[in-house]
């Protein structure tokens, strides 16, 4: 164990960086340069610290570790309570890994308001880490929603031409979900009398209440995920966001929904989860097929990858709501893997975008000739996205489908078509951008990746391969917590009192439908 408050340090270290940046004075160039360096050093140090935490983490235990508990609003019993278990651990690492990469990716491409940009990213990192560490529902809510503010600013200020529309769309969608979640949190708080997450997990609520609370949480998490049909904010947000914004959005923000399902929906509302699981699984299937087909006809590289993200997240929800060991572990792994692969793919788009300032697929072509190294990196990531065994993409996809198959073969069959469609759009994208004849002179004149771009893409590529060949390093640490989660879920189902079971809930549902 670690005898200092490592999680608080992780959460608030970026804010210390912010303080330093605020202190920087001087002419514009100097401020820009110094804030870049401060942001980079801060995030790298945070990353190293998180690795230290990873090493110290006891992978055999399912309990929350590095727990800190302080009174926050004592009159209401709300605490500052943080801790990590196998489920949240790697999301924290993912956040601390991707933030420095984002800073590097913005090194030359962001020239306006650099200081504010770096501050936004550091604040974002605080909120992200906080979300995954929070063990108090109110604290979680604060971090979870707080993420939205810097993201909104990053897209709205440093985004593309339609940034205002996209930023508002993002805000509206997520806010709508969050309001419902806030109401549900309050209701839960009133019901149980505590906002402490472990306490909430241990205190079952009545069946019909579960249904409503589940729906309210679902509204928020489904938007964040995003699940079909509340996914349309994502392509727009990605297209308009600066490269680093897309990286964080795809890499970390989309994982918050899935994390929420695992932290709240499954353990706290098991009966409601069981009741709604078929619906969620079908929504996932629709997402996989629908968005894959949409991705197939995209002309915009970022939009294509954005749609593919929705499809990949479909596998995640499919796995989580299969509520089997393979499904849940696969879902978690798929989130981590997608966090790396899609982030890296957006970085790849960024590499060529910085040179040609267009995302249109048809403006490229034949890049393999003038950018062979780029072509190789892109190829490995593309294959990872396709879910090739030996890359990290395979393990998650395969396990989620395996989990789904045990619950419902029809769902599994339809979802598995995603592996064909997923290959289709990625291969076509790759062919059009990298292979073929060089039709565009300016694209043909582009230079291969520089050292800076190498420095952030190569680690990600190596991670993709490492997690594909030896995923057990991660999975063995995740397993005890998942086992515990499924135990909670199943005992919650067994404990349900007679008479108050799903019959009433079905009536409500039917009532709604009429």
């Amino acid at each position: 164990m670690i005898d200092f408050a490592i999680l608080s340090l992780l959460i608030f270290l970026p804010l210390v960086g912010v303080a330093f940046i605020l202190l920087i004075r001087g002419d514009e160039n100097r401020v820009a340069r110094n804030s870049r360096y401060v942001a980079l050093y801060t995030t790298i140090f945070t990353f190293i610290l998180s690795i230290y935490m990873l090493i110290k983490f006891d992978g055999t235990s399912a309990e929350f570790q590095f727990v800190e508990k302080h009174d926050w609003l004592p009159s209401l019993g709300i605490q500052y309570h943080v801790g990590v278990d196998g489920i949240s651990l790697f999301f924290v690492i993912l956040a601390t890994l991707l933030t420095p990469i984002c800073i590097l990716a913005s090194w030359n491409s962001i020239k306006m308001r650099v200081k504010e940009y770096m501050i936004a990213f550091l604040v974002l990192e605080t909120f992200m880490i906080g979300t995954f560490c929070a063990l108090d529902a109110v604290l979680f809510y604060v971090f979870f929603e707080g993420v939205l503010i810097p993201m909104f600013i990053i897209i709205g200020v440093w985004g593309g031409p339609r940034r205002i529309y996209s930023a508002f769309k993002l805000f509206l969608y997520t806010l709508l979900g969050s309001v419902l979640m806030l109401v549900a949190l309050l209701a839960l708080y009133l019901e149980v009398g505590s906002s402490d997450i472990p306490t909430l997990m241990a205190s079952p609520v009545a069946q019909n209440m579960q249904i409503w609370l589940w729906l309210a949480f679902f509204a928020s998490f489904a938007v964040k995920m995003p699940m079909w049909p509340v996914h349309t904010w994502l392509p727009d947000a990605h297209v308009e966001a600066p490269t680093a914004g897309s990286v964080i959005l795809a890499g970390v923000l989309l994982k918050m929904g899935g994390y929420g399902f695992l932290r709240f929906s499954l353990p706290m509302f098991p009966e409601a989860t069981e009741f709604f699981a078929p619906m969620v699984m079908w929504l996932s299937v629709i997402a996989i097929i629908y968005t894959s087909l949409v991705a197939l006809v995209q002309e915009d590289m970022k939009k294509l990858i954005a749609y593919s993200s929705v499809a990949h997240m479909g596998f995640v929800t499919l796995g989580i709501f299969s509520a089997t060991t393979q499904g849940v572990e696969g879902g978690i792994f798929q989130m981590l893997s997608h966090g790396i692969i899609s982030a890296a793919l957006f970085l790849c788009v960024g590499v060529v975008y910085d040179r040609l300032h267009t995302r249109e697929i048809s403006r490229y072509g034949g890049l393999v000739k003038n950018m062979p190294k780029y072509a190789t990196v892109f190829m490995i990531l593309m294959l990872g996205s396709v879910g090739l065994p030996g890359t990290s993409g395979f393990v998650g996809e395969f396990l989620t489908l395996m989990g789904a198959f045990q619950v419902d073969t029809v769902v599994a069959v339809f979802a598995t078509t995603g592996v064909v469609l997923g290959a289709a759009y990625m291969l076509v994208l790759y062919r059009r951008v990298v292979f073929g004849t060089q039709k565009n002179d300016d694209a043909a004149a582009m230079k291969d990746m520089n050292k800076l771009e190498y420095s952030y893409l190569i680690p990600l590529v190596l991670l993709v391969l490492w997690l594909g060949i030896a995923p057990s390093y991660v999975m063995d640490k995740v397993a005890p917590s998942v086992e515990k989660l499924i135990g909670q879920y199943e005992s919650g189902l067994k404990a349900k009192p007679e008479g108050t079971d799903l019959a009433t809930a079905k009536q409500i549902k039917i009532g709604n439908a009429e």
């Binding site: 629908y290 197939l296 090739l388 030996g390 995923p471 999975m475 009532g511």
Partner: protein, 663 residues
């Protein structure tokens, strides 16, 4: 030793791929070639050890566990090498053919700019294939399976400036993925049924599962049949069986050594290997075996009909490959697993020989592949000519060449099965045998004999290939001649080496029964082969105008054959066009329906609502006061209602209201 045999090609790949620039073309060729040759030597040593090692090699067959891949609940997957009779034979075939192809490529690709990349991909492929055949669980097998798929994708699209090559590589990957879709589902079903993906455990559990049913897609089915059919779908994709075969002819866009290695000798036989490997499961699923037989028989027939009409020399051989794979599959279907693997091995030699020979011809003819523009070149390239004859005779099943032994065995086994589908496969196989001999002769006569149809410059320039290309051909030719004679006893004779590896239920033992079929069954294939060759000679050497007349007479049938039974057109209309259409429609509906009802509609509505609200801000105090009064009354009434309802305020109230609304 085992580890070296499998990983030497990987080392070759990594060195050549990462440092190809630094070590130069020569260096890359050296490391890749030596990697695969080392693997081949190790495989041969292991071959002797496993098959003839006797009692002092206790523990054969053996499994070497390298490391854990992943564990999830009860699912445990290791990286492991399983060396037994079946895998060692596959390893030998793969590494020997691959070594020949590696060396040959040094000569064949001498004019290409990206030699290092090409050689490294070949090694990558060999590694993936070795992982496939040595896996001890279904998921590692899937790794190898997809790995060879990717290598194939990379190599078909090797000339990536060509649109046709890119299209072909994507097609190959996607059609294979359709097969893999089945394979993946098969693995899920296996795990669902048995709770394991470990081969040994599966084989032990299979006999007890014959009575089990499982729900699949909403219906109750015989569980093992479902599992086997799903797995077979994967085999169909990889082995280009009818329905999922359309990628194979297009794959000829790749450089010729690739076609020889991947699309003739090794990768496409992975499906055959899969079924043979899983024979302890397939044996208990007679329905699945029936499907395998029928699909195999039809493939053998249909592919042969197409092969007779094509003009591209590589495509003819490609369809011939498909047809021969059909033979292997119906052999599997009638439980003659040994015969199928036997044919797999002999076929690997003579088909690789034919492809590399064709490559030598193409090389000589300045990259011309159309047989209509060849002819009369046998004197210019006599060695290639002789080698092509050897390959063709082996393919046609002429006595004492290797194809004769294995193909006859398959046909006899099919006959000996005494089932309707065995019979069907037998006659389809006989028909295909005639056609095989016919198109082999057609290929030889059109390419080498008669008056040349090539332009003068090409013809004059035609030259024999360098020794670095011819020596591998000779090794393969030796295999094509002798593999059948020497392999017969081992694979299907009286001293079979299979042990427990291939499981055949006593009632299904067609290989033994095949030794006792009527004489006419034994002789018919030979007669048919000779007849086919003779017809080919008549049509394409003696009476050169005959083919045209024949085409005129059988116009509709020829059209069907020439256009490959219109599979491509059908699939285009059936899958590709609708997918794109749906994609566009969904994309539009995202814009108009989802967004229209969602955020955009919401925004519009809020504007409207805002306008409405702004009217309230009239500035008149009395109106404000009135609204405040209303609000206050509302709040107070809500408070009282809440008090009435008692303890559980929020949710129950909501439930009640919705119920009411519902009613």
């Amino acid at each position: 030793m085992e580890i070296v045999a499998v990983f030497a090609p990987l080392v070759g790949f990594l060195l050549a791929f990462l440092f190809g620039k630094n070590m130069g073309d020569k260096g890359a060729q050296f490391v890749t070639c030596s990697g695969i040759i080392v693997a081949a030597i190790c495989s041969c040593i292991l071959f002797i050890e496993v098959l003839f090692g006797g009692a002092d090699h206790a523990g054969d067959p053996r499994t070497i566990t390298l490391m854990t891949w992943f564990n999830s609940g009860t699912l445990a997957v290791d990286w492991a090498l399983r060396i037994d009779q079946l895998s060692i034979i596959m390893m030998c075939v793969v590494t020997i053919v691959s070594s020949c192809v590696h060396v040959y490529s040094v000569g064949y690709m001498s004019h290409d700019k990206n030699k290092a990349r090409f050689m490294s991909y070949l090694s990558l492929f060999s590694f993936a294939m070795l992982m496939l055949v040595t896996s001890d669980n279904l998921i590692q097998l899937f790794f190898g399976w997809e790995g060879v798929g990717v290598a194939s994708y990379l190599l078909i699209g090797f000339w990536n400036h060509k649109d046709s090559a890119n299209a072909a590589s994507i097609k190959a990957f996607l059609v294979n993925r359709v097969g893999d879709f089945g394979l993946a589902l098969g693995i899920f079903a296996t795990f669902f049924l048995f709770g394991t993906v470990q081969l040994d455990e599966l084989f032990a559990a299979a006999p007890d599962a014959t009575e089990r049913m499982m729900n699949f897609f909403g219906f109750e089915f015989h569980a093992l049949t479902v599992v086997c059919l799903l797995l077979f779908m994967g085999a169909m994709g990889k082995s280009a069986q009818l329905g999922l075969h359309t990628w194979l002819p297009d794959a000829m866009e790749g450089p010729t050594p690739v076609s020889a290695l991947i699309h003739a000798a090794t990768m496409v036989t992975a499906g055959v290997f899969l079924v043979a490997r899983l024979s302890p499961m397939f044996e208990y699923a007679p329905m699945a075996l029936m499907v395998v037989t029928v699909v195999g028989g039809l493939t053998a027939f249909v592919a042969a009909t197409i092969g007779m009409t094509q003009f591209d020399i590589k495509r003819v051989i490609a369809y011939s490959t498909m047809s021969q794979l059909g033979y292997m599959f119906f052999a599997l279907g009638v439980s003659a697993y040994g015969a199928a693997i036997f044919h797999l091995a002999t076929h690997a030699f003579f088909k690789a020989l034919l492809f590399l020979g064709a490559g030598s011809v193409i090389h000589a003819m300045s990259d011309e592949q159309d047989m209509r523009k060849m002819g009369g070149i046998w004197k210019k390239i006599p060695t290639t000519y002789t080698l092509m004859w050897i390959g063709s005779l082996a393919l046609a099943g002429v006595p004492f060449f290797s194809g004769y032994y294995s193909k006859d065995m398959i046909l006899e086994a099919a006959y000996a099965d005494h089932s309707w589908f065995g019979e069907l496969a037998f006659w389809l196989g006989i028909a295909a045998a005639v056609m095989t001999a016919f198109y082999s002769a057609r290929l030889l006569f059109m390419t080498f004999h008669g008056k040349t149809r090539a332009d003068k410059e090409t013809f004059d320039h035609a030259h024999e290939s360098p020794p670095i290309m011819l020596v591998p051909l000779m090794i393969l030719a030796a295999g094509a001649i002798f593999a059948g004679y020497f392999g017969y006893e081992m694979f299907v004779g009286h001293h079979q080496i299979w042990g427990e590896t291939l499981k055949v239920l006593p009632a299904n033992d067609t290989v033994t029964a095949a030794h006792h079929v009527p004489l006419w069954v034994k002789k018919l294939p030979i007669v048919m082969g000779v007849v086919g060759l003779f017809m080919g000679w008549l049509f394409y050497n003696k009476f050169v105008s005959a083919p045209e007349k024949a085409v005129k007479i059988f116009k509709p049938i020829h059209k069907l054959f020439f256009n490959k039974w219109f599979f491509d057109e059908l699939y285009h209309k059936l899958f590709i066009v609708p997918s794109l259409w749906f994609g566009k429609v969904f994309f539009k509906s995202d814009k108009h329906i989802v967004d229209g009802l969602g955020p955009d509609g919401f925004a519009k509505a809020s504007y409207g609502f805002g306008g409405l609200l702004s009217r309230f801000q009239s500035g008149y105090v009395f109106q404000y006061a009135f609204i405040m009064m209303l609000g206050l009354i509302g709040l107070i009434s809500w408070f009282f209602i809440k008090m009435d309802l008692g303890v559980e305020p929020v949710t129950d109230a909501v439930v009640e209201t919705t119920k009411k609304v519902g009613e």
